[in-house]
């Protein structure tokens, strides 16, 4: 890859922005499905970071790409279990409002 083409910092900045947007959505969403979407956005930001490092810093033994594959696997499992928990919560509470899930509050 021609290193002079796109600097590594450009990829890192895009991934930082994506991660921070995900955190903002996680903190501010009231819909539980949107919270799950924000988590996926954050995981994608992390993946871009890993891929950029594996291509610019470790371009012979691309271990970052292997890590990205594992992150994608875990994200798929997390999405399946998270949405199942969400369905179960919706069945018990008949709402998806995050403010009403206060079972652990004492």
């Amino acid at each position: 890859m021609n290193i002079e083409s796109i600097p590594l910092q450009a990829f890192l900045i895009v991934s930082s922005i994506l991660f921070c947007i995900g955190i903002w959505g996680l903190l501010n969403s009231r819909n539980a499905v949107r919270v799950l979407m924000s988590i996926e956005l954050m995981l994608n930001g992390v993946n871009i970071n890993l891929m950029a490092f594996s291509s610019y810093i470790d371009n012979n033994l691309i271990q970052g790409q292997v890590f990205t594959i594992f992150v994608i696997t875990v994200a798929a499992a997390e999405a399946a279990v998270g949405l199942a928990i969400l369905l179960s919560l919706y069945r018990n509470r008949v709402t998806v409002d995050m403010e009403s899930f206060n079972l652990l509050k004492w």
């Binding site: 890859m1 021609n2 290193i3 083409s5 796109i6 590594l8 910092q9 450009a10 990829f11 890192l12 900045i13 895009v14 930082s16 922005i17 994506l18 921070c20 947007i21 955190i23 903190l27 501010n28 009231r30 499905v33 949107r34 979407m37 924000s38 996926e40 956005l41 994608n44 871009i48 891929m51 610019y56 470790d58 371009n59 012979n60 691309i62 271990q63 790409q65 292997v66 990205t68 594959i69 594992f70 994608i72 696997t73 875990v74 798929a76 499992a77 999405a79 399946a80 279990v81 949405l83 969400l86 919706y90 069945r91 018990n92 008949v94 709402t95 998806v96 409002d97 403010e99 079972l103």
Partner: protein
Amino acid sequence: MSIAVTTQIICFSVLSLVIVVGALGVILLESIVYSAFLLGGVFMSVAGLYLLLNASFVAAAQVLVYVGAVNVLIIFAIMLVNKKEDLKPIGNLKSRRIISTSICITLLSLLIRVDLSNVWGLSDPNTSIGEESTIRIGEHLFSDYLLPFEVASVLLLMAMIGAIVLARRDVRNEDISTGLPVDQELIEKSSEPLLIKKN
């Protein structure tokens, strides 16, 4: 990647713009359905960035797993829990927004400062394996990452069984009033909603 530098920069700019604007749309749009479809667009653009980084296998995995599985799952979940409800207004919403936004902006400025100020030890471009990355990933997965690879398969099995157990409904196999067996349609047991009285 064997395309011209200018083309790469144009592709990178367009993809980054789509990613940032799409992600903002995902968290800011009022309708959750629009958010879900925009999320699919963000995933596709991230796959495009992976192609720019010479990682065709990971790009294909991203499209298959994220767009094909996770996004479809999210759309199904929206379909199942899609109820128009008026959210209860909560107090001190404004101060919450201010605090969370300032936390995010602080974190973003910190990350960008680290990105720009650190001196990254870039490796020699001549050692790059370029477009043979798929072969190298296969070698990794069957030699030094063999144990995590097998554990990932167990994890996926556990996640599948867990999701089925969590999302399953209890079904009666006989009619409540007549006692006859029901085989045509599923009648749900009328369970006491345990948690509703809490607030």
